[in-house]
Subunit: 468 residues, 2 copies
């Protein structure tokens, strides 16, 4: 199934717009697309008429010319007939926002979903949903039916996301990505995944040139679990695949069962099988973002030994980083006396006698941009050091907003992953920007910095691609 | 030792101001206090003269009238003589910012520290440091020697903090507290803790009426470890004590040894001993803030059974919360058929058939403020439910900024801890404010919400006070 058309529709019918309620989900989708996206949108309501002086079509069949996609937000029992009309009109994909299908666990709901699926299959219509939140595919279309003033969107980027939970997509992905400066290529709420599911998305994301890594939020799979695992094993050879599995606890699994049409399988078995195939599992929300962020900067840098250097402006931060790195399975190798002496030689006189040149390196609060640059340059050139965490504290007086530009040059020359911790303060924005514009991702907790390098370590531990 | 005077000095000498470098630490401290704090400050430099047309005294003895405290930022080798002068002038406490003492691990540095300590002891002078970042004690004094434009300060509040690492105090406490809306009563960088150490601070914090919980960042203790543990056992009977222990890994411990004068003891033994005494250990940076935040809202609410309810606007969020709560040692008890039916009766018709009334309760994206209010009211009234996590998603269209006020009223009536997760978006500020002004702490990750209730569970597990 070629899903390109699903995510790049040119002409979209929004079926179910209300003539009286501007906050109806269909109206939100219609307006969003009319004002902000490249696809041409058409409002459909059986009563016809007009909406803000633009025509409302009584049926998708009345829309002049071809229609690629229909976004459907009508009562569940009306959806199969709508799908038939769409088939007649030559629509190639449906995004069904309506709930009331298999997720209700009623025989009526299940029958409606089966009927809808059957219509789509017979007519080769690609079906997203039902019971989904929509698709965000800039600059083509955005069928997420939430009011835009209540949500936010991250910049365009190279991470694709498919989520079984629409709300997870909205706040754990779109909001967090925005907050963390992670870009997204496409975000899909797959809902009840009657037809298009994680396996379809895995294949599609693998093919997309604009997508360099992908994230899945899943609460278990039933019949297609094996296929997902096998397909993932192929995809991880070229692109990192991150999953966050909901329902790993007994209580979580019960909760998953009560709100989704998917049969929650034994998620622990799935977790183990995915690891075998090189899939990287995030254990919490923070890791979802950290892993996505590091892969948007460095995706071909598995840490084969897991050896990292830590360069800090504070002893305490070095201690905490060493603790967290150890806990995360990274190694903080001891530096030889020769290396310590070499480091001592490269820094300015002011800190030669107060800095500690063990790993973690503590350059102290008196360190300057140059000290960081020279120490990083020396350490990244060492064969045993695979990556570095920089703890940059902009309140130390000799650190300037230029530090990131300096260190970015070192990274460009030596091509090893470097990540930075900068405390979360709006006024440190200049420092943050200097790092990120020069290829060094910044996070606001030491834990997240460690998580980023852990992702690259997992890439090596579970990597199935050539050269790992 | 009564430390009141250390934190509420009326007249402070800043010794070591530079006549030419306005960025000298002593100048930063002098200006900070001159412009922003209640204590009267006097600049001291042996050359005398003036600074911005204000007099510079050649010695602390020349300052007319009594001087309570001296903040010292001169070369280490000059400090003992400065201390003698201070003794002569009747100074009652010293905050020594200068480094170059025992932390250098040189015989000279150790001897200087011993000499300084001896002078202070003989003259009954309370000594903070040496090699410390200073003391933040609003509205009296702020001797943190960092440029104010490069740092931030949290609001006044009821959490006291003592940190072995000055930088930890600055970004893990002051910055994070500011970001999370946690208030601070006093923050102390104890540096080499030659005299005033964690034991002294523990006693002092216990006595302060403005302090309801306290946080310590420690990298091990030597001779006074046993005393700290015993004293903590007393303090936890009236106030929560949180510690974050750096150096628990081999690498972290080595790093701690290389940058601090303190002998890193066996931190694992200390961790176990502290738990026995009711001290709550944070395992990472995020917990330090979460624990501080919950204790500034609820400090007398140990969760004796650990039974919580989860009320969500999204199924996926419920699943994730149940997983994380289980992992954190909290229980998410099953609801009986009767309770589910009772919950179904209290919500609006619109969601009766789509919400899930199991625990976690999934009210769906169609829930309104009233639905949350009535469900919370019903659940908090149940004897087995000790606390509740609210997952409020302001992008669901019927949730308004009034939701927090409604739920806060329920909390006031039923007096059980409720915490809320609200995604991190500036425009959700109105929603956040509604919660926090009405007694419900808000965090921006599900994990942090779980951490907050975990703190109250730990309070019960390790509590030594009467009635636990």
């Amino acid at each position: 199934m070629d899903l390109k058309g699903v995510f790049e529709p040119r002409r979209v019918a929004v079926i179910g717009v209300s003539l009286s309620n501007p906050f109806h989900p269909a109206n939100i989708v219609y307006n969003k697309n009319y004002y902000g996206y490249d696809s041409e949108v058409f409002a459909v309501n059986p009563r016809g008429g007009d909406l803000e002086r633009r025509p409302v079509y009584k049926s998708v069949c009345e829309i002049p010319g071809e229609v690629d996609q229909a976004v459907v937000a009508v009562k569940a029992r009306l959806v199969p007939d709508i799908a038939r009309e769409c088939a007649q009109a030559g629509v190639k994909s449906l995004v069904v926002l309506s709930g009331g299908f298999a997720e209700t666990r009623t025989s009526e709901g299940i029958a409606l979903q089966d009927e809808l699926l059957e219509v789509c299959r017979r007519n080769s219509i690609a079906l997203i949903g039902p019971n989904c939140l929509g698709v965000y595919s800039p600059p083509f279309t955005n069928s997420l039916f939430l009011p835009p003033e209540r949500t936010t969107l991250p910049p365009a980027g190279d991470i694709a996301v498919a989520s079984q939970s629409g709300a997870f997509l909205v706040d754990q992905i779109l909001t967090r990505f925005k907050e963390s400066g992670v870009g997204i290529s496409v975000g899909v709420s797959i809902g009840n995944k009657a037809m298009i599911d994680e396996v379809s998305m895995l294949r599609h994301f693998a093919e997309r040139d604009d997508t360099h890594a992908m994230v899945f939020y899943m609460e278990g799979m039933d019949r297609r679990a094996r296929e997902f695992v096998e397909t993932a094993g192929e995809v991880t050879k070229s692109k990192p695949v991150v999953v966050y599995l909901g329902g790993k606890s007994q209580k979580g699994m019960e909760a998953a069962r009560s709100h989704t049409a998917a049969l929650a399988g034994n998620i622990e078995i799935m977790s183990a099988a995915l690891k075998q195939k090189g899939v990287i599992e995030a254990e919490n929300e923070s890791e979802v973002t950290s892993f996505s962020k590091i892969f948007s900067y460095y995706r071909n840098h598995p840490l084969r030994q897991g050896n990292i250097a830590i360069i800090s402006a504070s002893g305490g931060h070095g201690v905490i980083t060493a603790d967290l790195a150890t806990k995360a399975g990274l190694k903080v190798p001891q530096f030889s006396a020769e290396r310590r002496e070499a480091l001592r030689l490269v820094v300015e006189d002011a800190i030669k006698d107060i800095a500690s040149f063990q790993n973690p390196v503590d350059l102290t609060g008196s360190a300057s941009d140059q000290d960081f640059e020279r120490v990083l340059d020396y350490l990244l050139a060492q064969e045993d050091i695979e990556a570095t965490i920089i703890l940059a504290l902009p309140y130390t007086p000799l650190v300037t907003s230029f530090i990131g530009t300096r260190l970015g040059q070192v990274v460009r020359n030596l091509n090893k992953p470097v990540v930075a911790y900068v405390p979360n303060l709006a006024k440190y924005g200049m420092v943050l920007e200097g790092f990120e514009l020069n290829g060094i991702p910044v996070v606001h907790s030491i834990e997240a910095a460690v998580e980023m390098l852990r992702a690259l370590r997992l890439l090596a531990l579970y990597c199935t691609r050539d050269g790992c």
